[in-house]
């Protein structure tokens, strides 16, 4: 990659002088307008009596700009395919189970996209800690101290049945040793990973 970039600099010296601007990060851009002004104007000319229809853009809230000083609390949106667990909740810290390890997110965290592995998400607010076991998902941390965590399945740790976890762990460890094809091995490995994560969530 470095060689490619260096050669492109050598190839186009003239353009490099005029290209003084750097592409801004998506978090530094001003909020996109919530309605297309040209469309609204044209509508009013054509159909003055009826209100212009709302477009999806007007239903979306524009992203808040990055504040110049670090905010005191993190705003978390934790969503599942069937429910919105936490919506714009202001917390002090969340610890997410990223594939690279447990990651603590405080206000002012650098923008990150993290893939989550099966593990425990803990939400810390003052002295309360709420723990959810997440099956897998992603966490997007934005520069303005907003964290969007999306998971396919998330359950409070209290809803997990320890006996079923032990049974499953034994079953999948056995499947792993007796698996033949690549796909079976992968499925058994996934089972072992998930059940060991469930086990440590129950004991930790």
């Amino acid at each position: 990659m470095i060689r490619r970039v260096a050669s492109s600099f050598l190839r186009r010296p003239v353009l490099a002088l005029s290209r003084t601007s750097v592409r801004p990060l998506s978090t530094d851009l001003p909020a996109a307008p919530s309605a297309d002004a040209a469309f609204v104007e044209a509508w009013r000319k054509a159909v003055p009596n009826i209100e212009p229809p709302k477009t999806p853009l007007s239903f979306m809230q524009p992203r808040l700009p990055t504040p110049s000083s670090i905010p005191t609390r993190l705003t978390v949106n934790f969503v599942l395919p069937y429910a919105s667990e936490l919506s714009h909740k202001e917390v002090d810290m969340v610890i997410i189970p990223a594939t690279t390890g447990q990651m603590g997110v405080l206000p002012g965290h650098v923008s990150t996209i993290a893939e989550l592995k099966p593990g425990v998400l803990s939400v810390h607010e003052g002295n309360d800690v709420t723990k959810y076991f997440i099956s897998s998902g992603f966490a997007f941390i934005h520069a303005n101290s907003y964290a969007d965590i999306i998971a396919v399945e998330a359950v409070p740790v209290g809803h997990i049945d320890a006996a079923l976890v032990q049974k499953g762990l034994v079953e999948f460890t056995q499947k792993l040793s007796s698996a033949s094809s690549d796909l079976e091995k992968a499925e058994a490995q996934i089972g072992v990973d998930v059940y060991s994560a469930l086990n440590s969530a129950l004991s930790g």
């Binding site: 099956s135 396919v152 359950v155 809803h159 796909l183 091995k185 996934i190």
Partner: protein
């Protein structure tokens, strides 16, 4: 930029992320305590009807209500 970065074991075995994620979710759902487990399994049931076509003619559609493990 490495083009042969270490791929996760499931991708090396030919599985996509969605399949992996759904398998994880199913395993977690099967470990829940009783009222939550039945809630979760009924929530994830899919109901669909399949019609196979042969020589341009549809055969009788089959209604299925599968739980996600199948």
């Amino acid at each position: 930029m490495a083009s042969n970065a270490a791929v996760p074991f499931w991708r090396a075995a030919g599985m996509t992320y969605i399949t992996y994620s759904n398998i994880c979710a199913n395993l977690v759902r099967n470990c829940l305590k009783e009222p939550y487990k039945t809630e979760a399994l009924t929530r994830e049931k899919v109901h669909f009807s399949i019609a196979t076509w042969n020589d341009g003619k549809a055969e009788k559609p089959v209604l299925r209500s599968d739980t996600p493990e199948d």
